[in-house]
Amino acid sequence: MAETTKLEVFRYDPDAPPGPDGTREGRFQTYEVPFNKDWVVLDALNYIKDQLDGTLSHRWSCRMGVCGSCGMMVNGAARLTCNAFLREWHPEPIRVEPLTNFPVVRDLVVDMTGFMEKLQAVHPYLIRKEQGKLEDGEYKQLPGELAAYKQFSMCINCLCCYAACPVAGFEENFIGPAALALGHRYNLDSRDDGFAERRDVMFSHDAIWQCTFIGECSEVCPKKVDPAAAIQQAKIEATKDWFLSKILPRAMERTASAPVGPREGGAS
């Protein structure tokens, strides 16, 4: 056999009978796959699935680093497996596990319903005092105004930042880096008037103030979104907002009572 590399892949079968103590445990299964210098970890997982073991389950789709499906722990670090090359570790074995800080559904698949709720909670959409008419054309936005939030709009929801975040590890309710960055992205958007509507969630105990600014989220972000910066900026905004509420309470009332966009559904 030509040159090969070893993958130690986390397996977890929720259908399997529980052990003597009533719980189910995961285990590592080692697979030997051909080594190809151009292969990424995802290629190796797909090789296993197609050729060695059809029962392995993992998520993937675009394999070009933009759909966000294939985030996993690769030798302990949260990575997009479509952009983690075997040659980074070869000939050492590569350990592949599901993203930490999430419940495991099966094998390498994690439960992301919690994230979806957190994303929805920050109201990640434009909220306008006045809805523009289509016939009046686009809302104007200067290149500088676009640049103010553009970086935070690049999040692909891969969840690597949650796996890296120490706070997300022990505070299940922490809104977390990606969702906070997206909330902040809309707060920064010159077309948006939703600051007051997002205030309760963004500035709550479970949100920005939980962050201890360790910055791991920005370290692992494959798209360089820098959620840590978003959260620190949001803390400054929240502080200004708080002071404003003390010295200019009526100004605060004005923002809080301002009519908001077409929230017909009453998303939570």
């Binding site: 394999r63 105004e145 998303a267």
Partner: protein
């Protein structure tokens, strides 16, 4: 069982736009988004270059319509194209109002860029992650509507059809393995294309022709399936797309001698890159994708391509754009090149080769996104309206998602509102039969490996249904597909468990691929002419007398599909010659003669800009 007014199968651009249209215009209706992946993972996310809509003061709807129709080699329905170009600008502004971060001019207005086959800059863009930003803007906007109910990671196995009408879907909830019946008064298929029929494609893993096959099995014809778009600039090995925007911004294509070879294929003159007229619209690198991909094959035959470990390649050169412009306009191109081929396009040539990118064909719909089956609609790549004819122009597909997604949503809502009740009792028989079929697939003791069948399918499709085709190879392929379908009857699903069983879904996807491929290969075999992306070496001419028609492939149980034809709708431009380069432009009233042949010879100075 859950029931809704409108059910969307697929949560990409077309599906989300349809869902939002229903939620905004008919808030009393409930919408289900049934998607096998979380919506923001959908393949719309990978689109890079942009979305076309007339916005510049010196542009006209007529020009956009003409570019689209001539680009499609006159196979597009012209009434549909008019609807498309008319509604495109409004849809793009709508998306801006939803928050899409379009790139901007210094004035604060939305910026546009040139694209292949288009006469003028009319492509709206968000750097070179346009699809990503469009999809996330749509998805995030959809989160404000509580009446849009998501069924994330639900894999649709069947349409529920009773008495000539569609009443919903049956789906596996992937995380639990449970089968669910979701009934509705209208169903919209928006599952994208089927690029995974081929081995070398830009398409994501999820693009397995699900909606096409579901419709085909329900007796709805697949239209113009023989038209497969090869994008001229895919990265060798992975097939990852390098956007046409790289050429729209001024990138050039060169062969192994450094020659801008497109000038040898009736695509106009090679204007030097430092000439202010470069890049010239509808010319050279901004010619249409079918012609550029065909030119590659000729270069290969002439020995002008470079060998690489992943097959023959040519090069895309963007170095003259400079680092600042590359980082501002096409940063993702730089990121992809660095990550996946280990080169920096600021300093090096990008190796590229044609790659399967898009299916012009799909579920036959009318201009209102309706199919032949009452209650069933389709939109996006999985549908064929047709605005793309025999070759889609770059940046029309993202716009198509919006225009026809919204149309599908509105028309599905209209039907749902006038439908009083769903005959639940009468659907039971079909529902029970489907449940039995899925359960037995999981419990079967088949021997044929999924990957073996899939690889054999992809191999035969590439050999026969690629850029150039002929009778003999297509005959072989239809035979191979029939054999593979027999083998599929004995497919092996080793995983007998229920929770997140992706081997089961892979088997079901393979079934969809086989059906989509069957329609494609038979349609290609039947069309004995060359038009747009369908090039038959044994029938090299376009034959308007016989084939200025849409093909319709109807599934026949246990045999080859029945191929029928229907007329193309022509309202303004009779079929004429497709010309690019110097002679290209708007020829509204008089069908042009073959002016392409008169394109001047390449200028001697054109090569001096190559390094």
């Amino acid at each position: 069982m859950p029931t809704h007014d409108v059910i969307l199968v697929g949560g990409g651009g077309a599906g989300l736009r349809a869902g939002i249209a229903v939620a905004e215009e008919h808030p009393e209706l409930s919408v289900a988004v049934v998607s096998k992946i979380y919506p923001m993972r959908s393949h719309t996310v990978s689109a890079e270059g942009g979305a076309a809509a007339v916005v510049q003061p010196n542009d006209t709807l007529e020009d956009h319509a003409y570019d689209t129709i001539s680009g499609g080699d006159w196979l597009a329905d012209q009434d549909a194209v008019w609807a498309f170009v008319n509604e495109a600008p409004k849809e793009m502004i709508q998306l801006e109002h939803y928050g899409c971060p379009w790139s901007r001019e210094p004035s604060g207005r939305v910026a546009t860029r040139p694209f292949g086959g288009m006469k003028i800059e009319r492509t709206w863009f968000a750097a070179d992650k346009t699809g990503f930003h469009m999809l996330h803007a749509l998805f995030q906007h959809s989160l404000r509507y509580a009446d849009v109910v998501r069924y994330d990671e639900f894999f649709v196995t069947d349409l529920i059809v009773h008495d000539g009408r569609c009443w919903g879907v049956i789906a596996i909830e992937i995380p639990t393995g449970e089968l669910h019946v979701i009934t509705g008064k209208s169903v919209i298929l928006c599952t994208g294309g089927a690029g995974r029929i081929f081995p070398f494609t830009t398409n994501a893993a999820v693009k397995t022709g699900d909606g096409m096959a579901l419709a085909y099995r329900a007796g709805v014809p697949l239209k113009d399936m023989e038209f497969v778009q090869y994008h001229p600039t895919g990265l060798p090995g992975t097939g990852i797309l390098i956007t046409e925007a790289s050429r729209g911004e001024g990138g050039i294509m060169v062969n192994k001698h450094g020659r801008r070879y497109l000038q040898d294929y009736d695509l106009g003159n090679a204007i030097p890159v430092d000439d202010e007229r470069h890049p010239q619209k509808r010319t050279m690198e901004l010619g249409p994708r079918d012609r550029l991909s065909q030119a590659f094959v000729h270069e290969l035959e002439k020995g002008n391509t470079t060998d690489s470990e992943y097959g023959p390649i040519v090069h895309l050169d963007v170095r003259h754009l400079g680092e600042a412009k590359i980082d501002k306009k096409i940063p993702f191109v730089r990121e992809l090149c660095r990550n996946y081929v280990g080169i920096d396009p600021v300093h090096e040539l990008i190796p590229v080769r044609p790659v399967v990118h898009y299916l012009m064909g799909g579920v036959d719909t009318d201009i209102d996104a309706k199919t032949e089956l009452e209650g069933l609609f389709a939109a996006g790549e999985c549908a064929c309206v047709s605005i793309n004819g025999a070759n889609r122009l770059g940046s029309n597909s993202l716009t198509e998602l919006l225009v026809f997604g919204a149309r599908a949503g509105r028309n599905a809502a209209k039907l749902a509102k006038k439908t009083k009740t769903i005959p639940h009792d009468e659907l039971k028989e079909q529902i029970d039969a489907t449940k039995g079929r899925v359960t037995s697939l999981r419990q079967s003791n088949g021997t044929e490996r999924i990957a073996d069948i899939r690889v054999a399918l992809q191999k035969t499709m590439e050999e026969s249904a690629g850029i150039y085709r002929d009778e003999a190879s297509l005959q072989t392929t239809v035979g191979v597909i029939a054999e593979l379908k027999e083998r599929f009857e004995k497919v092996k699903v080793a995983d007998k468990t229920k929770i997140f069983n992706t081997e089961l879904t892979a088997a079901l996807e393979l079934g969809y691929l086989l059906d989509s491929a069957e329609a494609l290969a038979h349609s290609a075999l039947a069309r004995k002419e060359s038009r747009g992306s369908h090039q038959r070496t044994d029938h090299p001419q376009r034959d308007d007398d016989k084939y200025l028609k849409h093909s319709l492939a109807y599934k026949v149980e246990g045999g080859a599909p029945r191929i029928e034809y229907k007329d193309v709708v022509i309202t303004d431009w009779p079929a004429g010659a497709r010309t690019y380069g110097v002679q290209s432009g708007l020829k509204r009233d008089k069908p042009a003669e073959a002016t392409a042949a008169a394109t001047p010879a390449p200028s001697a100075s054109s090569d001096k800009t190559e390094s």
